[in-house]
């Protein structure tokens, strides 16, 4: 099939490669500079200090919870956006994607006015005995707010490129919409869903602005790793650098392990609808 070979003609002009190299360098250089500033003899004590481990643990827990929420809300949203056909669809997409371009601090302020004590829902929640401000829940909400678009965008793209023809066939075979979703749609877009979830997790892990504005900062409750880094920077640059490196490593591991790029490769993945029928040349 279309497996890429090393010798295949790529058609990329050299000057594009040069600019790409500059771009890659632009991303890598600051990271390398940071690594160069790490106080290696103190590195282990710095990253294993109680404050660091507490912040890391909280970050991993909240990012995992946010990812679950992103999947929960993002899958239906992506389905509605990719498959639906209704008035205001473009508008809905714009709003869902807004947090992508919004400064996180603006997201934090918006969340504050929605879920804060004096907020739109916050008052009712407070009457119901639910307090979100200064709680870990607030951190999860802030992270979900900023990370949701990542899941929706990558899943909607996967849904669109998979097309709806498999779903139509499944329906004519007698499968109810829920069965079609469970047995056809989701398995087909699983790679897209996985990479969307990983991106959401990574984005949640790095969330800072909205959390700072909306959730506050208390060790073990709301002070995630980025907030801890921001605070450590005030007094202990070595600790901040060490923790930054830790965050980079965690992010690289998470993304590297499961993110396989926008075009999933391999035999188990969904073919694009257009080429689905053209495997006449494949030997049995």
């Amino acid at each position: 099939m279309n497996r890429r070979k090393d010798s295949a003609y790529s058609g990329i002009p050299r000057w594009v490669v040069a600019i790409a190299a500059a771009g890659a360098l632009f991303v890598l250089l600051p990271l390398a500079a940071m690594v160069a500033r790490v106080n290696w003899p103190q590195f282990i004590p710095l990253v294993t200090s109680e404050a660091s481990l507490t912040a890391l643990g909280l970050s991993l827990r909240t990012a995992a919870a946010s990812t679950v929420l992103c999947v929960l809300f993002g899958v239906p949203l992506a389905l509605v956006l990719a498959r639906g056909d209704f008035r205001g669809q473009r508008l809905l997409r714009s709003f869902v994607l807004l947090p992508l371009v919004l400064p996180p601090v603006v997201g934090g302020i918006a969340l504050l006015y929605a879920f804060g004590r004096q907020g739109l829902l916050g008052r009712s929640l407070e009457i119901a005995g639910i307090q979100i401000a200064f709680s870990t829940t607030a951190v999860v909400l802030a992270q979900t707010f900023v990370a949701l678009p990542f899941l929706v965008v990558s899943l909607e793209g996967a849904l669109r490129s998979a097309g709806s023809r498999y779903e139509a066939v499944a329906a004519t075979l007698g499968a109810r919409p829920t069965t079609v979703l469970r047995r056809v749609t989701l398995p087909l877009v699983l790679p897209g869903l996985a990479s969307g979830a990983v991106l959401s997790f990574a984005r949640s892990l790095g969330e800072f602005g909205a959390t700072l504005t909306f959730a506050g900062s208390l060790p073990g409750v709301t002070r995630t790793l980025p907030l801890e880094i921001y605070l450590q920077r005030e007094t202990d640059a070595d600790a901040a650098v060490a923790l930054s490196l830790l965050l980079v490593v965690v992010a690289v591991v998470v993304v590297g392990l499961s993110y396989r790029g926008p075009a999933p490769a391999g035999s188990g993945s969904a073919r694009s609808a257009g080429s689905a029928g053209n495997h006449g040349s494949v030997a049995p």
Binding site: M1, R165, Y166, A168, V169, A170, A171, T172, L173, G174, A175, R176, P177, T179, V180, R183, V184, P187, L188, L190, S267, G268, S269, A270, R271, A276, G277, N278, H279, G280, V282, A283, P284
Partner: protein, 349 residues
């Protein structure tokens, strides 16, 4: 116990009325964009017409019009669709693909797999059960897709050019197989190939511009085509016009002498049909017993089997390569097409 569908969809200029008896297989022919796939989509419930009604065995599939909005979802219609692309679910094995339909309607896993094995065997694909779609050839995939469609025991099987994506080796095999499984089964098969109509269908409908323009038993439609499209499929020249005592007069004023096929009144609309093989080509005007002779200009020459097909506008003639060379045929050359009256059948339009 019949299946009827009446549907109109203004946006696609589609308006069709059709009914199928139990066990009847209908071939739908027609040029691209005639509305053949629209017909299948409307029946399958994938496309909602503006108005219309469809009923299967006394069950209403849809009824749309002023004040009525009955609509049965695709999964409750008892139709199954086999398209040009097999569209096998890539994440499921061939067996699970075939078992998909039964399982979707609540058949237990084991039983669904049994059914799937049965249908895979029925399409000579039992040995492919464990394969993933990516490991199947086009012909194999289409056979598995056929088994998948049959495994739900559809009340009407919809086939949308099921053979057109297959190579010349795979198509005959699947055509024979379809002939076997479609016997006694209600099915609608959209096709471009007249062979499919001959082999698989009891009845043919010809669609053009969203409407059915011909409907009848396969033999009749292909022997006595009334539309140019059907005539083309049947490999016949077709001239429509007004019936005269001797034959027919075309709109351009050409007189065709021929055999009246059944009782005909002068003045009614009729068509004259004759095969290209009955047409001879001369450089000069020919004389003799009842013959039709027309001066035409050659527009095209193309190989046709071991003959050369000479096209002149809407008419064609078949000549041997040697004759073609002798006559010096080339596009633009003025020649005479001559056909014996005995070879021309005249029948009502």
């Amino acid at each position: 116990m019949t299946f009827t569908v009446d549907a109109a969809l203004a946006a696609r200029r589609f308006e069709v009325s059709l009914s199928l008896a139990p066990g009847e297989t209908v071939a739908v022919l027609g040029p691209n964009g005639a509305g053949k796939s629209t017909l299948l989509a409307v029946i399958a419930g994938l496309l909602r017409p503006d108005t219309g009604r469809a009923e299967m065995n006394g069950r209403v599939l849809f009824e749309l019009g002023a004040g009525v909005h009955t609509w049965t979802a695709p999964h409750r219609r008892g139709t199954a669709l086999l398209a040009q692309d097999p569209l096998l679910f890539p994440h499921l094995s061939a067996l699970e693909n075939v078992a998909f339909g039964p399982r979707s309607v609540g058949v237990p896993k084991r039983e669904a797999r049994e059914t799937a094995r049965h249908w895979l065997a029925e399409v000579d694909a039992a040995d492919l059960a464990a394969r993933r779609p990516g490991e199947l050839s086009g012909g194999q995939a289409q056979r598995v897709a056929a088994a998948r469609a049959l495994a739900v025991n559809p009340e009407v099987l919809l086939l949308d050019e099921p053979l057109s994506a297959l190579d010349i080796h795979a198509a005959p095999l699947l055509r024979r197989l379809l002939k076997r499984v479609l016997a006694g089964r209600r099915a609608i098969i959209v096709t471009h190939d007249v062979l499919d109509a001959y082999m698989l269908a009891d009845r043919v409908i010809v669609m053009e511009d969203g409407r059915i323009i011909e409907d009848g038993p396969t033999r009749d439609v292909l022997r006595r085509p009334r539309s140019r499209f059907a005539a083309g499929l049947a490999g016949l020249n077709l001239v429509s016009g007004t019936v005269t005592a001797a034959g027919i007069r075309s709109a351009e004023g050409l007189e065709f002498a021929g055999q009246h096929d059944g009782p005909l009144d002068a003045g009614q609309a009729g068509v004259a049909a004759f095969p290209p093989s009955a047409v001879s080509v001369f450089l000069g005007e020919a004389h003799g017993s009842p013959r039709n002779s027309f001066r035409v200009t050659v527009t095209d020459l193309e190989p046709h089997g071991d003959q050369i097909r000479v096209r002149a506008g809407e008419l064609s003639a078949d000549v041997t390569p040697a004759a073609s060379a002798d006559l010096g045929l080339a596009p633009g050359l003025a020649v005479y097409f001559v056909v014996k009256a005995a070879a021309v059948s005249i029948y009502p339009a």
